[in-house]
């Protein structure tokens, strides 16, 4: 009985979120808008607890699969629940819930009208459902479907406000993301032709026997995946759409896109590379070196671009490009510490960047100032919000006691384990650059003398609660990382196909 519940829960999380998404417009018609919003928050909270439960089960009893509709693989779609799924489900829940809570306060005012707000809820939940789908699926075509759903939903929530700049940004995003989808689809086609399968475990079996016969084809196929997912997850130099899209959207959209949406594609890439193709093959191909190199370039270049921005949200958007570099660097390192670092950074960047974008959104909205150079005295006007921003900054820089340090530490260990001293230098330099682009915001907000007396801004308690929730997550992961770290390292172990933890 318990097992049946557990198995069904995997698909239930996705299905429940999908159905909630579709009843949102109806619900907002027949009930007060608040009710729909809180219902969405509650469903996300349930998804989070489902994720935690599943992760616990996976840690206790090992991985398991679920055949959708009762059709076993390779004919049906198979959901494959391992530590990777558990980890990403928790990440999604822990970040999406506070973002929704934050959005619920003034959504109608932000997007313009009640019906648009209802559609925003639908799209938001669709995006979350697609990400959960990416976390649990074990099937390549299913990945493609989920990637498409996520892409369309993210494009739409960028355009939520419907003003000229955000529509332009959306168009740019849509074009590039579609090209990315094309590459992904081509890659899937290649893998299907090579192996005759869409189920990732079956592909892995086929490839392990026959990959040496078609090294070039495999190479091309993996490059397609790298470019396709690289565009979608803003891997430098394929990032050009991101700064516009993430800085023009409303705060909850920016937070959602920067913290979770791009991570979904990274999880998909991880699954294709390490599950479908397999760690043994992938680490023998130079593709990991390319990822390491691109990751390092992204860390430095993204941070340098961020330094040059005066608009707060653009600076945060470029910071995302830099931080995505850390994640790719870990994937490229391809050892246990590197991948653990990748997972930890997926979690810590998701929580941290969500916090930063939400806090920045509140700062910009209540003071009407979007440029860092105008922000003198904001700290005195809204101490809790800017305080939360400070916590996010310290975590992003990688100060101990905050979650960012835990992931950076693992990445450093991973780099040293590969003897990659350049990566050590880049990681440390990236932290310094992060300090250089985030600390001036705090200096401006707290310590510069304002030109005129600052207005006291009252941020609503619900939004403060959302910010504080993220602050608590960041600090507790930073202080007591045991549980998540174990899950992350299990996930890395699962991907690498190692038997026991060293």
């Amino acid at each position: 009985m318990a097992l049946a519940f557990r198995d069904n829960l995997a698909v239930l999380v996705v299905v429940a979120l999908l159905s909630t998404a579709y009843i949102m417009p109806l619900l907002t018609k027949i009930r007060r808008f608040r009710v729909a919003e809180y219902f969405a928050v509650a469903m996300l909270g349930l998804a989070l607890s489902g994720g935690i439960y599943l992760a616990r089960e996976i840690l206790l009893h090992g991985t398991f699969t679920y055949a959708v509709g009762g059709w076993p693989a390779p004919w049906g779609i198979e959901l494959s629940l391992d530590a990777v799924s558990g980890f990403f489900l928790i990440t999604i829940g822990v970040v999406a819930t506070p973002i929704m809570l934050y959005a619920s306060v003034d959504l109608i005012k932000e997007v313009g009208s009640r019906s648009r707000a209802a559609w925003f809820l639908t799209l938001f939940l669709l995006l979350v459902a697609a990400l959960c789908g990416l976390a649990v699926t074990g099937d390549l075509f299913n990945i493609y479907v989920m990637v498409e759903v996520a892409t369309i939903a993210s494009c739409a929530i960028v355009a939520a406000r419907n003003d000229a700049t955000s529509v332009e940004a959306t168009f740019k995003y849509l074009m590039l993301a579609t090209i990315g989808s094309g590459f992904v689809l081509l890659g899937i086609g290649f893998l299907f032709v090579l192996t005759g399968n869409l189920n990732m475990n079956f592909i892995a079996q086929e490839l392990s026997m026959s990959w040496q016969k078609y090294p070039t084809a495999l190479w091309v196929c993996l490059s397609f995946f790298m470019v396709g997912f690289g565009v979608k997850s803003a891997l430098f130099p394929l990032h050009v759409w991101l700064p516009d899209a993430h800085s023009t959207a409303i705060a909850p959209s920016s937070a959602m896109l920067s913290s979770l949406a791009i991570k979904g594609y990274i999880i998909a890439l991880l699954k294709v590379f390490y599950v479908a193709v397999g760690a043994k093959i992938i680490t023998r191909l130079p593709i990991t070196d390319i990822l390491t190199l691109l990751g390092m370039v992204a860390i430095i270049a993204g941070a340098l671009f961020a330094l040059a921005q005066d608009e707060l949200k653009r600076r945060l958007a470029f910071s995302t490009i830099s931080q995505v570099g850390y994640i790719f660097l870990g994937i490229g390192l391809g050892n246990i510490h590197g991948l653990t670092g990748t997972f930890m950074h997926i979690l810590s960047h998701a929580t941290t960047k969500a916090l930063l974008f939400l806090a920045a959104g509140a700062m910009i909205k209540h003071t009407g100032k979007s440029r860092i150079s105008e922000m003198a005295g904001v700290g005195a006007a809204m101490p809790v919000t800017v305080g939360a921003f400070a916590v996010g900054s310290l975590s992003m820089i990688g100060i101990p006691l905050f979650s960012g340090f835990v992931s950076k530490w693992q990445l450093l260990l991973g780099s040293l384990a590969n003897g990659n001293y350049l990566a050590v230098l880049v990681l440390v330099g990236g932290s310094l650059l992060a300090a250089a682009y985030l600390l001036p915001v705090l200096r401006m907000a707290f310590f510069e003398r304002p030109l005129q007396k600052p207005v006291v801004a009252n941020v609503s308690y619900v939004q403060l609660a959302a910010l504080l929730f993220l602050v608590v997550v960041i600090i507790s992961v930073g202080v007591v990382p045991d549980g998540v770290l174990q899950l992350a390292s299990e996930a890395a172990t699962a991907l690498l196909g190692l038997e026991v933890l060293p």
Binding site: L439, R449, V480
Partner: protein, 489 residues
């Protein structure tokens, strides 16, 4: 949990609670705030003193550990940490009383005192950390907690100084982080001070040299080894109690303490000896000592002169540590204690002069001795201690440093120490002489109401300088314990 562990934790936590309390009460409640600040500092210091009593009495030191095995938060007492802890927490009490007077008319008192107390707790965290990770954690936090104090006035200069401070400190901390990661891979995950030296024994000397210099550059920033001292001078724009406490006692000593930990707890005496890096280190320190003193000679702004003097004096402590001889280490520990107690008086006195007369430059100080006899008197007497004259405490630390240099057959260091002493005399004595013989064109003294709050701590610490000079044996149990910890005699 034993009493000791509880006290170690409580001494850190109580200042943090005090800080939160200060931040929570309204800005107008001055008296209440002052009571909390002084009270928290006092209670915390009392706890550390009791720990000293426990530790020296029984020779056992409690340890406290949380977190996962690899990166645990680990607080342990040892004689070296206790010395730094006692020094910082005691001087913090006096500095908090002084601050009450000095910040009387400041509009951002709440912010000031919050971070003032937070820094106190973090400094104790550095003192009591039992592994490198914990050390790095508190060391990094100290930068962020003291930044608001440095930029307190909010002027352009202050913000620029703050920027410089953060840049230097974070770059230094990155070196330390790189060193810790490298150490981790060399030792296979051992970061405990008590077990690192043994775990390092298998590493090659080339790797160890790189490791050593990574640590040295990292800690050298806060220890203001030339040429890493730039931040210290700009940071003198901070309010005087901050300059006094952070830039003569807590922050710079945290750097020095880090170097001591590196040499004695991470590598151990034998390993450092085998690396044969000693000549470079001694030259580095000698250059800093002489250059610091020479540049101090040319400074007209009093606080800048004191800052260069600090740079030079910190190098004395490092010199003592690098000689790798028991007597020299004793000298280094004594100099850490005595330099802090002496230098804080000089800063306090400079602050009082600036508040009462508005004079900041040495050339303006003529005749101030007659207006502020007690202040300038303390300044004069204590500056003699700084030079190293008997019967003041500064003599004894230099005495041990010289004996250590001779015992290690490095007589050239004797010349360095004597020459620097001479330079100290050249830049300190004229100040006192002109203060008491010159004439002042001061029309009106400001008559600060809170003068007493500033004067009393100054005079008390100055008295310590004399008492330690007359009875140097008072500090011996502690210094002996430190030496015995690292040298098997």
């Amino acid at each position: 949990m034993s009493v000791g562990v509880a006290l170690v934790l409580a001494s850190i936590v109580i200042t943090t609670i005090g800080a939160i309390w200060v931040a929570a009460i309204p800005g107008e409640a001055k008296t209440q705030r002052h009571c909390i600040v002084v009270g928290a500092a006092l209670v915390s210091a009392a706890m550390v003193w009791y720990l000293l009593y426990l530790g020296l009495g029984s020779g056992t030191y409690p340890a406290f550990r949380v977190g996962i095995a690899s990166l645990s938060l680990d607080l342990t007492l040892d004689p070296l940490g206790l010395t730094y802890g006692i020094l910082a927490s005691t001087l913090w009490v006096f500095a908090s009383i002084y601050s009450v007077g000095y910040m009387e008319h400041d509009t951002k008192q709440r912010q000031y005192f919050t971070f003032f107390l937070v820094s106190a707790g973090i400094t104790l965290g550095i003192a009591f950390s039992g592994n490198l990770f914990t050390f790095y954690l508190f060391y990094e936090l100290l930068t962020f907690a003291t930044y608001p104090l440095v930029v307190h006035s909010g002027t352009k200069d202050a913000l620029e100084a703050g920027r410089k401070y953060i840049r230097y400190s974070l770059v230094g901390a990155s070196f330390i982080l790189a060193a810790i990661v490298m150490l981790w891979t060399l030792t296979g995950g051992v970061l405990d001070f008590s077990s690192i030296p043994a775990a390092l024994a298998t590493a090659s000397s080339g790797q160890l040299r790189i490791l050593f210099f990574l640590f040295l550059i990292g800690f050298g920033v806060k220890a203001a080894i030339m040429p890493l001292h730039g931040w210290l001078l700009s940071a003198m724009v901070a309010p005087t109690p901050v300059s006094a406490l952070l830039h003569a006692v807590a922050v710079v000593n945290a750097g020095v303490f880090g170097v001591l930990r590196t040499v004695y707890s991470v590598f151990g005496v034998d390993l450092v000896k085998s690396l044969s890096v000693r000549p470079i280190l001694l030259v580095l320190c000698s250059v800093t000592i002489i250059l610091g003193s020479l540049i101090a000679l040319k400074q007209d702004v009093l606080k800048r002169r004191l800052a260069y003097s600090t740079i030079s004096q910190l190098a004395y402590i490092l010199l003592g540590a690098f000689i790798l001889h028991p007597l020299a280490l004793a000298g280094a520990m004594l100099h850490m204690i005595f330099h802090s107690t002496l230098k804080i008086v000089l800063f306090f006195a400079a602050g009082i002069v600036a508040e009462e007369t508005g004079y900041l430059k040495v050339s303006e100080l003529g005749g101030t001795g007659r207006i502020l006899p007690v202040t300038m008197g303390s300044f004069g007497i204590i500056s003699l201690g700084m030079i190293g004259m008997l019967p003041l405490s500064g003599f004894w630390s230099k005495y041990y440093l010289m004996r250590g240099s001779l015992a290690a057959d490095a007589w050239i260091l004797l010349v360095v120490l004597l020459l620097s002493g001479l330079l100290n005399a050249l830049y300190f004595i004229p100040i006192t002489v002109s203060a008491f013989t010159g004439t002042s064109d001061l029309k009106q003294r400001r008559k600060t109401k809170a003068l007493l709050f500033m004067l009393v701590p100054t005079v008390i610490i100055a008295a310590f300088g004399v008492i330690f000079g007359l009875y140097p044996g008072l500090t011996l149990p502690l210094v002996d314990a430190v030496v015995a910890q690292f040298f098997s005699l």
